[in-house]
Symmetry: C2
Subunit: 204 residues, 2 copies
């Protein structure tokens, strides 16, 4: 207990944003390990190295914390894809999609537990399902923008862009859910397969 | 109140299966109109023309009734698709998919309210999300079987059948969810678009 005060005061010097990230890291780990219902705020606080009231003060109750984890994870997936497939009109849209899918499935494969809890468990429970729907909508918009750019440049054919974007997002999400259920499963191969399907179709 | 006993006895002569369908019809209507949470067993019983205890006796509590509605609706969608696109190795698999997608989107468009409640609300809540996952798995298996048949006959290219089937199911589900949110939206056009995408890809 002697170390407690100095630990506390050390923590007090951390900027709010850093502290919040520490809490979210801890929350993400505990949610992934226990699932939403069994996760306890006490364990999250302990892992973050701060008191439970401080967790509530920073990020709210368990539901709000889960939503914050969902949003951060959503932003991370988006960033992982944007890094390798930035919105760049000078690159072929087909290549962008292929690279984007690879980054997406790699991310999912590297964060299986997180994906299983945040996405799979989260979407089966309100209000999390609505938060996931919002994140999904941002993906639809980004993909629709990519397809429109491809159409303008004559490198993509897609008569109705919006349903096509919904189709791509639904396809990628469904394959990702399947991937996290597998013991193994090669994310690159899945990405190559889906890219080939989206670009070339099933025609033999 | 005078008519009540004769109505009751008339109902008593109905076979169990018929009575259950009447209850499910009433439940489907009430769930679609009110959503799961606001739907009351009293209103369902009234609409089915029987007593509330009889509803419980036939199909269980509200949760069990909702699951029974989900399963019946799932079987109906499957039947609507199987009717126009039966598993028939002598037909081109591309045509089967196209016809199947048309039947699927037509069904969804004609049952918007039911789809919105059963599928969209249901999947965001356990135990309904798991029931929907089971139904989804049957679709994945049926589509995988279709793709394998196409591969054997050389009319479909799909190196990894299972993820491809997940991709198709996810794509169709995502577009259907979008369709029910639209004021209008032409199911045949959506089916044609998705079939073209799945068969020809985005390559210009």
């Amino acid at each position: 207990m002697a170390a407690q005060p100095s630990r506390r005061s050390a923590h007090k010097q951390l900027p709010r944003a850093v502290r919040e990230q520490q809490i979210l890291d801890a929350a993400g780990q505990v949610f992934s390990r226990r699932g939403y219902h069994a996760a306890s705020m006490g364990e999250i606080a302990e892992l973050a190295g701060i008191s439970k009231p401080m967790v509530y003060a920073y990020l709210g109750n368990k539901e709000e914390l889960f939503i914050a984890c969902l949003r951060r994870e959503g932003a991370r997936v988006m960033a992982a894809v944007a890094e390798v497939a930035p919105f760049d009109l000078d690159r072929p849209v087909e290549e962008q999609f292929h690279r984007g899918l690879r980054a997406f499935f790699r991310f999912v494969a590297e964060h299986r537990d997180t994906w299983a809890v945040l996405h799979n468990q989260g979407r089966r429970q309100e209000p999390f399902g609505s938060v996931i729907a919002e994140i999904r909508l941002r993906w639809v918009e980004a993909i629709a923008a990519g397809l429109r750019a491809g159409q303008r440049k004559g490198t993509a054919a897609a008569p109705d862009v919006l349903p096509a974007a919904y189709a791509i997002v639904g396809a990628a999400e469904s394959v990702a859910d399947w991937l996290v259920e597998q013991e193994e499963g090669d994310p690159e191969r899945l990405a190559d397969g889906l890219a080939a399907l989206l670009w070339g179709g099933f025609a033999p």
